[in-house]
């Protein structure tokens, strides 16, 4: 496997891990409150829908969009996703936004389902299936787009090399599936929200990777010739890391801090922040 395919695998794996952790919390609530059959049925249906989206969009884009236009579109989308993730991670590292709290989300969703009168049962429950389906689909949609964009670009780069069999989408999908298997496996063992996953560090890393790849591929599509070609990706990664971490340090020193509260349960605003 080439260095670029490894980078695609790692980016898809990390991005998927973050989203799967968030989706798993809701699946867990459904499993604990209603039953595991409903939780897994909803999750499996959502994974199927996501696979269909990747297959349909991936194939259509490869067939009908010219390579340079594809590079520009892919680069633009990756930059939008990457900068959005980076912004959230920067604000959280700087202490301006509450850290994503899986335990708080778990408790809130649990209370919501119990308030609806949901209780443990043996039969498949449509509401439980729908809740699980919705959470996995919504969290997974962004991953699906990341898999498509990364995979397509890797396909395009491989296509440029003579005799290579394009496998970018497959590698990106494998990265996402590996993350899914890891999160579900860990969750099935501990049967609790995955609080110890360093979500913000993952978000920050993925944000830098998406932005760097987006800049590189988008620029290439526009006609920019990067110095030392693929090696310049490392320069972009280092530059974005230094700039964004510098922004975090600057914000920590200068930005006004939001009023401190002792726990998320005592402050609904903080609780809401943690959920987004």
């Amino acid at each position: 496997m080439t260095a670029q395919l490894w980078a695609v695998f790692i980016a898809a794996f990390l991005a998927s891990a973050v989203e799967f952790v968030e989706a798993f919390t809701i699946v867990l609530v459904v499993g604990v409150t209603i039953n595991w059959r409903s939780a897994f049925a909803g999750a499996a249906a959502a994974v199927g829908a996501l696979a269909l989206i990747v297959a349909v969009f991936g194939t259509a884009l490869v067939r009908y969009v010219p390579i340079d236009a594809l590079r520009v579109v892919v680069g633009f989308l990756l930059i939008l996703f990457g900068l959005k993730w980076l912004k959230k991670a920067i604000l959280r590292y700087a202490g301006l936004k509450a850290m994503h709290d899986e335990e708080a989300i778990y408790e809130e969703q649990l209370a919501e389902l119990r308030a609806r009168g949901e209780h443990h049962q043996t039969r498949i429950d449509p509401f439980g299936v729908a809740t699980s389906f919705k959470s996995v689909l919504l969290e997974g949609l962004e991953v699906a787009f990341i898999v498509i964009t990364f995979g397509l670009q890797a396909n395009a780069s491989q296509g440029a090399a003579a005799g290579a069999q394009p496998s970018g989408i497959l590698v990106a999908t494998l990265g996402a599936l590996a993350a899914g298997a890891l999160v579900i496996g860990a969750g099935a063992i501990i049967r609790a929200p995955l609080q110890r996953v360093p979500e913000n560090a993952l978000k920050f890393t993925v944000g830098v990777m998406l932005t760097s790849f987006g800049t590189f591929w988008g620029g290439e599509g526009l006609g920019i010739e990067w110095w030392h070609e693929d090696l310049f990706l490392l320069v972009l990664v280092a530059f974005y890391l230094i700039y964004t971490w510098g922004l975090v340090l600057w914000l920590r020193r200068t930005a006004p801090k939001p009023p401190a509260v002792s726990s998320p349960e005592q402050d609904p605003a903080t609780q809401q922040e943690a959920l987004s």
């Binding site: 900068l83 959005k84 912004k87 604000l91 526009l222 920019i224 110095w227």
Partner: protein, 76 residues
């Protein structure tokens, strides 16, 4: 009729939130792509300068977005 318009607006808003969700980032990225395209195709600017401007516009969008977030927190 109003219901259809509302549904279309909701769909547009959901699409915007999914892909961008932040006006500064969207504007920064759009300006970076359009200006790089124009500078290369029409301006025949040196490659290195276009690359620097391209990255600078992206970072300007991110920095402005973070600043606006802090501003809105300070105001509330």
């Amino acid at each position: 009729m109003n219901t259809i318009v509302n549904k279309v607006l909701q769909a547009l808003k959901a699409t915007y939130n999914f892909f961008a969700g932040d006006v500064s980032i969207l504007v920064g990225a759009s300006v970076a792509f359009v200006s790089a395209f124009l500078l290369i195709r029409l301006g025949h600017m040196p490659n290195a300068l276009v690359a620097v401007l391209f990255v600078a516009f992206l970072l300007a969008g991110l920095t402005d977005s973070v600043n606006r977030e802090i501003g809105s927190q300070g105001a509330s």
